[in-house]
């Protein structure tokens, strides 16, 4: 994902602060729920992105919504964003924070697309194989796409390993036409 560079800086600062204070898990789960909220609630998303609201108003809303439920570090950070008039960056900050968190914990996301739904056992074995190969913990995100005809593709980072029948047919077509 292409994130706002400023959001990255804010997220990096928050990440190292939370790590120092030992509140990494708490802040992470807070930000995760905020990201879900921004995703699900249109009202909340437009509140974040509205440049017409004054920082004091925003801070009031934030306090009303999160005071008590959120970690002190998170709340502090939200206030900071309000005072800098950067509340619109919040969804990007959440995403960037998540990236840093996964890297810290040595977790890799693997996106698996298969022609048919994979069984629990298959996913587990796939995760085992991949973590043996990469030396990191693997979190599998599976998706079904019938247009692959058969087989599956695995994307880790920018790299795709393609075991699909569709791409093999495509390759065979190219080879035959060029022969």
């Amino acid at each position: 994902m292409n994130l706002n560079p400023a959001a990255r800086r804010y997220a990096d600062a928050l990440f190292s602060l939370a790590k120092d204070k030992g509140a990494l898990e708490a802040v992470k789960s807070n930000l995760q729920s905020i990201a879900t909220l921004a995703n699900d609630s249109e009202d909340f998303a437009s509140f974040l992105g509205n440049p017409l609201l004054k920082p004091e108003t925003q801070q009031g809303v934030i306090d009303a919504a999160f005071k008590g439920s959120a970690d002190d570090q998170t709340l502090n950070f939200l206030h900071f964003l309000c005072s800098k008039e950067r509340l619109g960056l919040l969804p990007d900050v959440c995403a960037s924070f998540e990236e840093s968190y996964l890297e810290e914990k040595g977790i890799l996301n693997a996106f698996v697309v298969s022609a048919e739904a994979l069984s629990e056992a298959q996913t587990t074995r796939m995760a085992e194989k991949l973590s043996a190969k990469t030396g990191k913990q693997i979190r599998i995100h599976a998706r079904v796409d019938a247009s692959l005809i058969g087989g599956f593709t695995i994307q880790v980072g920018d790299e795709i390993t393609d075991f699909s029948v569709a791409s093999q047919l495509e390759r065979f077509k190219k080879q035959t036409l060029n022969a």
């Binding site: 292409n2 560079p5 920018d158 393609d162 035959t176």
Partner: protein, 503 residues
């Protein structure tokens, strides 16, 4: 003959290919299109992509990674960008742009990526060559020493071009720049020089015209046209000269001779400017990017005369630059003038006054070609240059012809005749022997008693006679290659003899 097609055979072939097909996994790197427009795509991902690497969009459309930035990659698309959407997957190909090269390209018209666009069969290539290659090193080269006859009197006499030279043709629009280049290609017939004509940003109709002209004069069989026309995307126009050079280098590196015409580099610079601005590279003078000089210098540096150890091949280039209102001090013209080994200036005033080719011999120069002239031409041309220079000095007084002293009047009359001698029709390149004969006649006063208006007529008939009655002399000068006493005296006798029959 009818071709019998047996379905079983085809099935058998397919079956064999299928059995040989390596199935299994395929690993590639991808990125995602963030935005696309104006022929440029910005892509996220592709973390390991190399600068200049080819990438593939869905549907097989290709692009070239030009800008590698912190969080995205700027890609120039070789084709219509309308089919590309945000979120599309872009694949790395792990290869740098390359084009087919080999003898199979002769007589063909191809695009900047080497695909045939003349409706003919697919190109049969001897090899694939990378379009951006480093120019030959210093030790691999040799000084330019053999002539590349352009067949145009005034060029071969005053600004000679040697094999391996870069000679710029510069002038306003409609001054005959392309015609000069085409005539030079036509004159390479039977000289074992493979020709390449790169059309950049031209009208498609002009390209067709060039191809027809070459075909008519039997020159298409040793010529390849690389066309990136005005309607092709800017990346193609930017690439075309490099592709053409890669194809021509195949001949240079295999010990043969090649000639390449870039028509014209102004348009290539403009295409590159468009690309750079869209990629948000900082603009400099005339909004051209900072590396515009390098764009042309690295291209023209690939023209070279190779050393004997490297096979003694050569690549000669004739870049063309179009000026606005004769302004050679603009950015691109000064750049290319400083890169090349000389320039041929064409002027609209000369063109309109009927002096064609409209070359201004006073300011046209060739920095290395003199060494490549055959000795006979060098001797004959020496006096021509002086006579023309004196004539230009005196030209202003020509209106007062009656008041002038004898010497000045003679000088003027000689000059007027020589100006007639250096005229030449389009698509009529001349053999070097014939060029020497008529220039010799002019500079040595044999034409002084012929009326100025009748000189073209005299010349035409004299050339005919050289083909027929005096053909021995042409053979002699082509053998001797220098003005020996025998060559001189026979020529003088022939001229006197011909003048008696001409009335």
């Amino acid at each position: 003959m009818t071709i019998e097609i047996k379905p079983e055979e085809i099935s058998a072939i397919l079956k064999q290919q299928l059995s040989e097909f390596q199935s299994g996994s395929q690993v590639y790197e991808v990125g995602t299109v963030l935005n696309v427009g104006d022929g440029i795509a910005r892509v996220h991902g592709l973390a390991n992509v190399m600068a200049g690497e080819l990438v593939e969009f869905p549907g097989g459309l290709r692009g070239m990674a030009l800008n590698l930035e912190e969080d995205n990659v700027g890609i120039a698309i070789f084709g219509e960008d309308t089919a590309i959407k945000e979120g599309d997957q872009v694949k790395r190909t792990n290869s740098i742009a390359s084009v087919p090269a080999g003898e199979g390209l002769s007589g063909r018209i191809v695009d900047a990526l080497g695909n045939a666009i003349d409706g003919g069969a697919p190109i049969v290539a001897a090899e694939q060559r990378q379009i951006e290659l480093k120019a030959p090193g210093i030790i691999d080269r040799k000084d330019v020493h053999e002539p590349l006859q352009t067949g145009i009197k005034v060029i071969d006499a005053l600004t000679p071009v040697g094999r391996g030279q870069r000679e710029l043709i510069i002038g306003d629009r409609k001054t005959g720049k392309t015609s000069l280049a085409i005539d030079t290609i036509i004159n390479q017939r039977g000289q074992n020089v493979q020709c390449f004509y790169v059309a950049i940003g031209q009208k498609r109709s002009t390209v067709v015209q060039v191809a027809e002209t070459l075909k008519k004069h039997g020159a298409m069989e040793y010529t390849t046209i690389i066309a990136a026309t005005a309607s092709d995307p800017a990346p193609m126009q930017f690439l075309a000269p490099y592709s053409g050079t890669a194809m021509a280098e195949y001949f240079r590196d295999s010990g043969r001779h090649a000639l390449i015409v870039y028509d014209d580099l102004t348009k290539q610079a403009q295409a590159y400017r468009q690309l750079s601005l869209l990629l948000r590279r900082p603009p400099g003078r005339e909004a051209f990017p900072g590396d515009i000089f390098y764009l042309h210098s690295r291209l023209l540096e690939r023209s070279a005369k190779m050393s004997d150890e490297k096979g003694a091949g050569s690549l000669t280039s004739l870049p063309i630059i179009e000026t606005q209102d004769s302004d050679v001090a603009a950015y691109i013209p000064t750049n290319v003038i400083s890169i090349t080994d000389g320039q041929i200036f064409l002027e609209s005033s000369l063109f309109n006054s009927g002096q064609r080719p409209a070359i201004n011999p006073g300011i046209s120069v060739s920095r290395v070609g003199g060494d490549a002239q055959i000795s006979a031409m060098k001797k004959t041309a020496g006096t021509l240059r002086l006579d023309l220079a004196r004539f230009r000095e005196l030209e202003a007084f020509s209106q007062f012809a009656s008041d002038l002293d004898e010497g000045t009047r003679k000088q003027l009359e000689r000059g007027q005749r020589l100006m007639q001698v250096i005229k030449q029709g389009v698509n009529q390149p001349l053999d070097v022997g014939k060029q020497i004969a008529i220039i010799y006649a002019g500079t040595n006063g044999f034409l002084d008693d012929i009326e100025v208006d009748r000189i073209p007529e005299f010349e035409a008939q004299f050339h005919e006679a050289l083909d027929g009655k005096y053909s021995d002399w042409v053979k002699l000068v082509n053998k001797e290659k220098s003005l020996t006493d025998e060559v001189k005296s026979t020529l003088e006798a022939h001229i006197e003899d011909f003048k008696r029959s001409f009335s």
